[in-house]
């Protein structure tokens, strides 16, 4: 195991976000890698799993961003919730504004790993690792969040729908730092779901997870966000399913049509945690459950 390499890395802190962007970009231009270390709950574990490093391979420079003010904190401004990329899940699930306005995030954070992971792990790390099993990313998909990124070229916002480009690939440039996520909050009291299927163990990665947020007006759903983990090479946004539900009154949604839409939206695989067939079954079941709660006869 290459945990032994850890002490060989140099670590710095950056004086400001601009200084961090400058450092990352300079190094990137020279072909040198920089690791932004937040909670370490992905990166440190990865170091252990890595094969030993050939002596000639340069080590990346590690920059501790876990306490960088510009990447931290939670604010709500005119219905826009902004969460700094280095804010921990524990801070999120205890924050009054999130407790009041984004209960789905509270539930997601409460079920992400155990409390020791929640006290360190961050959305920045979850997004950068970009695992299709990532719970935080699934929740952000459901909120149609924007990802605020910054580099020496300036700051920009990546809408969630334009973020994922392939398995663990994203439209964020390698020298762009994730600064925050922004969520246009649905009206207070909007129905939501957070469901992790197939495991009771706190630490286990889910076989399927569904994040959902809906705004209802009489017998129709007028805004719907869905994000599903572990059913495709990227976090599934269930586009066909959203389109179906938004296209007709709730009483006119049938279980068959809903199941068909879900199946066309996902491409699950067999792996150590579950099978393709089970994942299809679970995906259909959790979406039906949410729609049933919303009042569809499914």
């Amino acid at each position: 195991m290459s945990l032994a390499d850890l002490p060989l890395h140099d670590m710095r802190r950056a004086a400001s976000l601009d200084a961090l962007c400058g450092l990352v970009s300079e190094r990137h231009a020279r072909g040198e890698a920089t690791v932004l270390l937040a909670g370490g709950t992905d990166w440190v574990v990865e170091q252990e799993l890595k094969p030993p490093r050939p002596d000639a391979d340069p080590l990346p420079l590690v920059v501790d961003v876990s306490r960088m003010d510009e990447l931290r904190g939670i604010t709500v401004t005119r219905g826009l919730l902004r969460i700094g990329a280095a804010t921990t899940y524990l801070e999120m699930r205890r924050h009054p504004a999130i407790l009041e306005r984004a209960p789905m995030l509270v539930e997601m954070a409460r079920e992400l790993g155990a409390i020791q992971i929640q006290a360190r792990g961050t959305l920045g790390g979850n997004l950068a690792t970009a695992s299709p099993a990532a719970d935080g990313v699934a929740a952000l998909a459901a909120y149609d969040a924007s990802i605020v990124v910054k580099s020496v070229r300036g700051e920009r916002r990546i809408p969630f729908s334009a973020l994922q480009t392939g398995y663990k690939q994203s439209s964020r440039a390698p020298d762009e730092v994730i600064v925050a996520v922004e969520i246009a909050l649905p009206p207070e009291g909007s129905p939501w779901i957070w469901r992790k299927v197939g495991t009771r163990r706190a630490q286990a990665i889910s076989k399927v997870a569904l994040a959902g947020i809906a705004v209802r007006s009489e017998d129709r759903v007028v805004r719907l966000g869905l994000g599903m983990a572990s059913v495709a090479p990227v976090t599934a946004t269930l586009f066909q399913t959203r389109a179906l539900v938004l296209s007709r009154p709730l009483p006119a949604i049938t279980a068959d049509a809903l199941d068909a839409a879900v199946l066309s939206d996902i491409a699950p695989i067999d792996d150590v945690r579950s099978t393709r067939e089970y994942r299809k079954h679970a995906a259909k079941a959790v979406v039906r459950g949410f729609l049933r709660d919303l009042g569809a006869p499914v």
Binding site: L6, P7, I117
Partner: protein, 159 residues
């Protein structure tokens, strides 16, 4: 890198490569072997310590990230000659058998009781969900923590 931190209430300085794991720094140069290593990857909780009051896995935290922060280990819950009341409850109520998970359990329990003086059994189980125990089947650990919370409330909140 010189790192200054508050460890169990005392200011300490160490000079270590910044990416040395907090776990190794504690058990080695800082002379506190109470914190145990199980899995080394965040799964078992036997390395749990408090970082500014929150329970974290010391196997995933770098010592360089601890500059200026307060770390509490299991040694900080008792003094040199007396077990703290929480540890005493584990002894009295069968919450510790082989003892490997115990330092981490005690820290997770301490983090809980500091915030929730009267936790439900469900809250206790959630608080220790990241601490694996091969011996007790957990019920006795839950009993020990519930008892500690009762004693603490009777003693007027002091630990």
């Amino acid at each position: 890198m010189k790192i200054t931190l508050t460890l169990n209430g005392l200011s300490r300085e160490v000079d270590l490569p910044p990416l040395v794991r907090l776990l190794d720094a504690l058990r080695g140069p800082l002379g506190l072997p109470g914190t145990k290593e199980g899995c080394g990857e965040g799964e078992c909780g036997s390395c749990t310590v408090l970082l500014d009051g929150a329970p974290v896995n010391a196997c995933l935290v770098s010592i360089g990230q601890c500059e200026g922060r307060a770390v509490t280990t299991v040694e900080g819950l008792s003094d040199a000659t007396h077990l703290g009341p929480l540890a005493r409850c584990f002894v009295d109520h069968g919450g510790a058998q082989c003892g490997i998970c115990t330092p981490g359990m005690l820290i997770s329990a301490e983090a809980l009781l500091a915030r929730r003086p009267e936790p439900s059994d469900e809250e206790i189980r959630e608080a220790i969900a990241g601490n694996l125990c091969r011996c007790t089947g957990y019920q006795r650990i839950v009993d020990s923590i519930r008892e500690a919370s009762r004693e603490r409330r009777q003693a007027g909140g002091a630990s």
